[in-house]
C-alpha cells in the first residue's frame, strides 16, 4: 500500500516538475525571423490580409513606447493584432467560454533579442483550445492552421509597407475596431 501511495505522489511530483519546466514552451511558440522587426511585422500583416477566413488586422501595438515615455529602453517589440469574426463569434456567443475573449484579438508578437536577431512569438492556439472543450478546440484548431500561414514568408517578394495603427479605426471609440474584424 505504501508503495502505491508513494508511487502516486512520486508521479505527481514528476508531472508537476515536467509541467513547470515545459508548459510555457508548449503553450507558446517562438520562431526566428529572417527579416528585421519592421519587415517581419509588415510581412505578417500582409499574410494576415491574404489568409482569408475573415481575418483582418485590428491593430499594431508597440509596448516599448510606454517604457520610452517613462524614460527607459527595451529592445523593439511590436504586437500585430488580428481578428476573424468567423472564429471569434462562436466563442463570444457561448456564455460558458466567453471569458476566452481575453485572448482576443489574436496576437503575434515580433521582437528583437540581445543576439540582434528578430523573433516571432505566438500562442499555441491549437493546444490551448483543446483545454476548453470540443467547440473551442475545433475553432482554435482552425486558428492554429491560419497562424501557420501568418508566419510563412516568401523572401522573393518585396517587403510591403508596415501598416501602423488600426486600419479603419481613425474615428476611435467603441466601433473603432469594427474594420479590424472584431
Amino acid at each position: 500500500m505504501l508503495k502505491v501511495i508513494g508511487g502516486f505522489f512520486l508521479g505527481l511530483v514528476v508531472v508537476g516538475v515536467l509541467a513547470y519546466a515545459f508548459a510555457g514552451s508548449l503553450m507558446f511558440r517562438e520562431i526566428e525571423s529572417p527579416f528585421g522587426v519592421e519587415e517581419t511585422v509588415a510581412r505578417i500583416q500582409q499574410n494576415i490580409q491574404n489568409t482569408g477566413n475573415g481575418w483582418a488586422l485590428s491593430g499594431l501595438r508597440n509596448p516599448g513606447k510606454a517604457v520610452q515615455n517613462d524614460g527607459g529602453n527595451v529592445l523593439p517589440v511590436m504586437m500585430v493584432e488580428a481578428c476573424s469574426t468567423k472564429y471569434s463569434a462562436p466563442i463570444l456567443k457561448d456564455d460558458s467560454v466567453r471569458f476566452l475573449s481575453i485572448l482576443m484579438p489574436c496576437k503575434v508578437s515580433v521582437y528583437k533579442k540581445n543576439d540582434g536577431k528578430t523573433y516571432i512569438g505566438m500562442m499555441n492556439a491549437g493546444l490551448m483550445g483543446k483545454m476548453f472543450g470540443p467547440m473551442v478546440g475545433e475553432v482554435m484548431g482552425h486558428v492554429a492552421e491560419d497562424q501557420e500561414k501568418f508566419v510563412k514568408f516568401d523572401p522573393s517578394k518585396p517587403a510591403p509597407e508596415m501598416i501602423k495603427g488600426t486600419p479603419g479605426a481613425a474615428a476611435g471609440g467603441a466601433g473603432a475596431s469594427a474594420a479590424g474584424g472584431c
Binding site: L2, K3, G6, L10, V13, V14, V17, Y20, A21, G36, V37, E38, E39, V41, A42, R43, V67, Q68, N69, D70, G71, G72, N73, V74, L75, P76, K112, K113, N114, D115, G116, P158, A159, P160, E161, M162
Partner: protein, 546 residues
C-alpha cells in the same frame, strides 16, 4: 534493504536529477534592459548675450548672398574667419598626429556617397563655406566662410545640394519634382539672430549625413533634436538639455571631439573643461575614470578595459528612424520595368532602393559590434591600394588588448559594395551628382561617371571596374542611455554575450577550459551524490537500530 528507504532514496535521487535537469534546461536570465535639413527648431531660450545683433547697424542690410553676411560679421569679429579656416569644418582635411596620414572628407573614400571629388557642388551643402564647386576653390578667401550655418538661430537657414555651399536664395522645389518647396533664406533676419550653435545648427548636417536622416552615424539623427531621457540622458529636453557644444567645447572655432582624433582612453579624475591636456568631449571630462560609487567599485575596475560607451550605449539608433547598415552600389543603374528610375522604400518607410544609388538596408535599435580602439583609425584614402579578394576595410580602428591606450568600444559597422578599378586595384571615384552628361544620377552610366571622377582625382583609370565588399567602422558615442539601461554583467560575461568576438582578454563566464569545466561539474555532482548516499545510509541505519 527494506522498501521504505529504497523509496526515499529513489525519490531523492529523482528529485536531484530533475532539479539539475531543470536548472540546465532553463535559459540564462537575461535583462532586457539627401540633403542637410533644417531640423525642427529648438525652443528659443532668452539670450543672456550682452549684444543684440538685431540692433547692429552693419546688419541692417538687405543681404543678397551669404558672403555679404560674412563680410558684415568680420567687421567686428575680425579673427573669426581666420580661425575657422584652420578647422576641419573648413578644410575637410585632417592629419593624424600619430601616423601622419592625411584624412578628412576631402581625401577619404567611404561606402555611403563614396567621395567628395567631382561632386563638390552637392557635397558642399555641408561645408562651412560658400562656393567650393571644384578644385579651384580658394581656401584663403575669408568672406567665403559661412558663419550662419553654425550661428543662425532662426532655424530657417538651409543649404541644398547643387549650390556649392550657398544657402537657398530663391524659393525652389526640392527634391526636384517632389512637390515640396524650400523657401529662400531671409539673410537679414538670420544675420540678426545670431547665437551659439544649437542642436539645430549641428544637426542640419550631422543628423543627415549619408543623404538621409540617421543614415550615417547611427548614434545621431533628428530624434536628438527633442530627445527624451530614454534616448540620451545628457540631451534629454526635460532634463539636462545639453546642446552639442556642452560636450564639444570649442576653442578658437576648433570643435573638440572629432572622430578623427578620438580620446579613447582618458584617465584620471574629472576636470574642468578647457584644461590644456584634456579632451572636453570625453565622458571622463565630467565623470572621471572612476565614475561609479563605492558600492559598485567593481565596475570601476572595468574602466581600464572598457569605454564608458560600451555599457552605457547598449544599442544605438534607438528610435523608429533607424540607421543605414549597408549600401550596395552594384544595384545602382538597375531600372524599373518601364526603363525608368525606380524607387522603393522599406517596411518602415526608409529608402530601400533607388536606381540612381543602389540598395540599402536599415535597422533600428542596433546591437553594436565591439572592437579594441585606441582613438586612431586608419582610413582608405583616394588611391589607396586594396585587395579585392577580401572585404576592404575603409577604416581600421587601431589598438588591441596589449595597448594601454585601448579600450573596448561599441561600433557601427556599415557594409557596402562599391566599384573599384580591377587593374589598378583601388576604389574608384565616381561623379554622381549634377545634371551634366557624365553624372551617374543623371545618365546611369558607370563608365562615364567613373571616368570623370578619376580624372578629377588625377588617377589613371583602366576602363574596367567591378564591385568589392567594403566595411566602414564608426565608434559610437552618442545616445547615452539611463544608467538603469546599461549593460548587465551577464550580457557580456556569458558564452554568446556581447563580447564573444573580443580577443586578448580573459572574461569570466565567457572563457574557460572544457575539461576543467567537466571536472568541476563532475566534482559538484559527485559531492551531491555523496551527500544523498550518506543521508540515505544514515536514515537506513537509524531505522535498523530503532
Amino acid at each position: 534493504m527494506s522498501a521504505r528507504p529504497k523509496l526515499i532514496l529513489s525519490v531523492a535521487a529523482i528529485a536531484a536529477t530533475l532539479t539539475a535537469l531543470v536548472a540546465f534546461a532553463m535559459p540564462a536570465k537575461t535583462e532586457v534592459a539627401s540633403a542637410p535639413q533644417a531640423a525642427t527648431t529648438t525652443p528659443k531660450k532668452e539670450s543672456d548675450s550682452t549684444a543684440d545683433h538685431s540692433k547692429f547697424k552693419e546688419l541692417q542690410k538687405n543681404f543678397k548672398t551669404g558672403p555679404e553676411v560674412t563680410e558684415a560679421c568680420l567687421i567686428c569679429h575680425t579673427e573669426a574667419a581666420k580661425q575657422v579656416q584652420h578647422t576641419k569644418h573648413w578644410t575637410w582635411e585632417s592629419k593624424d598626429p600619430k601616423t601622419g596620414q592625411v584624412r578628412g572628407k576631402k581625401n577619404i573614400i567611404n561606402n555611403y556617397c563614396t567621395a567628395v571629388l567631382s561632386n563638390e557642388k552637392d557635397c558642399m551643402a555641408c561645408h562651412a563655406g560658400y562656393g567650393w564647386k571644384d578644385s579651384s576653390f580658394d581656401f584663403s578667401v575669408q568672406k567665403n566662410v559661412d558663419c550662419l550655418v553654425c550661428h543662425d538661430n532662426t532655424g530657417t537657414y538651409r543649404k541644398l545640394p547643387g549650390d556649392a555651399g550657398h544657402p537657398v536664395y530663391k524659393r525652389r522645389e526640392f527634391p526636384p519634382k517632389s512637390g515640396k518647396f524650400v523657401e529662400a533664406v531671409d539673410l537679414q533676419k538670420a544675420a540678426q539672430s545670431i547665437g551659439m550653435p544649437s542642436r539645430t545648427n549641428c544637426g542640419a548636417c550631422h543628423f543627415f549625413g549619408g543623404g538621409a536622416n540617421g543614415a550615417k552615424h547611427g548614434d545621431m539623427d533628428s530624434s536628438l533634436q527633442h530627445p527624451g531621457k530614454y534616448l540620451d540622458v545628457h540631451m534629454n529636453e526635460k532634463g539636462l538639455n545639453f546642446s552639442c557644444t556642452e560636450c564639444h567645447a570649442t576653442k578658437s572655432h576648433e570643435v573638440s571631439g572629432s572622430r578623427y582624433n578620438t580620446a579613447a582612453a582618458v584617465t584620471g579624475p574629472a576636470h574642468i573643461r578647457g584644461k590644456a591636456d584634456a579632451s572636453p568631449a570625453a565622458c571622463q571630462s565630467c565623470h572621471g575614470d572612476k565614475p561609479h560609487p563605492a558600492q559598485h567599485a567593481r565596475l570601476n575596475q572595468h574602466t581600464d578595459k572598457l569605454a564608458c560607451q560600451t555599457c552605457h550605449i547598449p544599442e544605438f539608433a534607438r528610435n523608429d528612424i533607424g540607421t543605414e547598415m549597408s549600401w550596395d552600389w552594384s544595384k545602382a543603374t538597375i531600372m524599373g520595368p518601364d526603363g525608368k528610375r525606380m524607387v522603393r522604400k522599406d517596411s518602415a518607410g526608409r529608402r530601400a532602393f533607388d536606381s540612381q544609388k543602389g540598395e540599402w538596408r536599415w535597422e533600428s535599435h542596433v546591437i553594436p559590434e565591439y572592437r579594441w580602439f585606441n582613438g586612431t583609425s586608419t582610413y582608405k584614402v583616394i588611391g589607396s591600394k586594396i585587395d579585392p579578394s577580401k572585404v576592404v576595410q575603409l577604416s581600421v580602428v587601431g589598438g588591441g588588448p596589449n595597448d594601454p591606450d585601448s579600450r573596448i568600444w561599441p561600433t557601427k559597422v556599415h557594409r557596402g559594395k562599391q566599384p573599384y578599378d580591377v587593374e589598378n586595384n583601388y576604389l574608384t571615384v565616381q561623379h554622381t551628382g549634377g545634371e551634366d552628361a557624365t553624372a551617374l544620377w543623371h545618365n546611369y552610366d558607370w563608365q562615364k561617371a567613373i571616368g570623370t571622377g578619376m580624372k578629377a582625382a588625377n588617377l589613371p583609370y583602366s576602363g574596367k571596374f567591378a564591385f568589392v565588399d567594403t566595411e566602414l567602422t564608426w565608434p559610437i558615442t552618442h545616445m547615452v542611455a539611463p544608467k538603469e539601461d546599461a549593460l548587465t554583467c551577464e550580457q557580456c560575461h556569458s558564452k554568446n554575450g556581447r563580447m564573444k568576438d573580443i580577443q586578448g582578454v580573459y572574461m569570466p563566464a565567457r572563457d574557460g577550459t572544457h575539461w576543467l569545466d567537466v571536472i568541476g561539474w563532475s566534482l559538484a555532482l559527485l559531492t551531491l551524490l555523496g551527500v544523498l548516499i550518506h543521508g540515505a545510509i544514515r536514515i537506513y541505519s537509524s531505522k535498523k537500530e530503532g
